[in-house]
Symmetry: C2
Subunit: 219 residues, 2 copies
């Protein structure tokens, strides 16, 4: 299956939205891809033709098995390049998403296998997301929960679900990275903000916007 860059981006975004359990709507996908609903409808017809998605007029979009497999291969490439950029070229986690968006479209099975070997076949990327293997299989993911939903006091950061430079820079500034251990001091119901503390540093408060995107596991 030979996909264009645009097709690959659609497949990846559909996969992402499907994971979030929402039905994939024309508008939602347009928003995700920063394009217009009309463009999504056009592309949906093409991807249906290629049997990568199930699509009926007005009925939303879903990946077929084949589409899912394609998505996992693209995601594998993306996450391996992110590892390369952080581990080998010393980029910080907020810089790599954009670059990996471009590198991921270089299609060579051999390149990706060698890159993975070179990196020591990593299983998670710099944001804590799991890397599919060469067959497109995702290792069973540790049960993750977002910080705003966690109900224990002591937690460890396992991933970040929003990869925007803005959020990641904020987390850098606060000293929050993968593996950081947190203690929840207080939850404020009126705005769902949370007061947290890292080690012996002074406590600080983060908004629901932020805590929703921090994935944690209980300690």
């Amino acid at each position: 299956m030979n996909l264009t860059v645009a097709e690959e981006n659609y497949i990846k975004s559909i996969y992402k939205l499907e994971e979030g359990a929402e039905a994939v709507t024309t508008t939602g996908l347009a928003y995700e891809l920063d394009t217009k609903p009309a463009s999504v409808t056009d592309m949906a017809k093409k991807l249906k033709e290629k049997k990568l998605i199930d699509y009926e007029k007005y009925q939303g979009i879903n990946l077929t098995a084949e589409g899912k497999k394609a998505a996992l291969h693209i995601i594998r490439r993306h996450r391996l390049w992110e590892c390369f950029l952080v581990d080998k070229l010393a980029f910080s986690w907020e810089e790599v998403h954009e670059l990996a968006e471009e590198l991921e479209h270089v299609r060579s099975e051999k390149l990706i296998i060698r890159l993975s070997d070179f990196l020591g076949n990593p299983t998670i990327d710099p944001h804590g997301d799991p890397i599919p293997d060469a067959q497109g299989k995702l290792g069973k993911q540790r049960a993750q929960i977002s910080l705003d939903q966690a109900r224990t006091k002591r937690l460890e950061v396992t991933a970040v679900s929003d990869k925007s430079a803005a959020l990641l820079e904020f987390l850098n500034a606060k000293g929050i990275r993968l593996g950081t251990q947190l203690e929840v001091i207080e939850r404020y119901e009126f705005d769902n903000s949370i007061e947290i503390k890292i080690r012996n540093q002074p406590a600080f408060t983060i908004s629901e916007q932020v805590s929703k995107n921090i994935m944690v596991r209980p300690l």
Copy 2:
């Protein structure tokens, strides 16, 4: 200056043909890019508009100073990726050209600077070609001469000018790589073939086709 992938490929090919001292003709460029003369004429108008080439109807194509600078940056990216593929991912020299053709179009100054650092700021690529620096400057190139024109008996291979997998695989098979020391045993005028010997191995004959593409320096 923001170039499309197609524009970058044109600029790179024009640079290559200009180096070969030939005037860059519509047909020659079409052949180099595996496209049609009509397409070249179309693109020439665009590149002239962007002031990257000098072009007048029927008068051939030449890079402007700005065009040359752009070309050198693209070539820098290409050659650095080739180094990465060979040095870090253990690809052989005949495999990397194609992959680098894709990787070179990821435009990020920072990425390329870091990649270069990571590789130890190499100055020649796996085919013996010099790598332009971050300012687009080419280190003064060692005077190179092709094997078919060399007139001394003992020579060292410094570069290969044709990067096709076919030629490079042939050279692999014969044990010819960068740095290989050769002795010319005989030159046959009727077909310009050359009999050469490596170390203590048996002599063998190569065609003019091949010897034209092996760059050497006298020992």
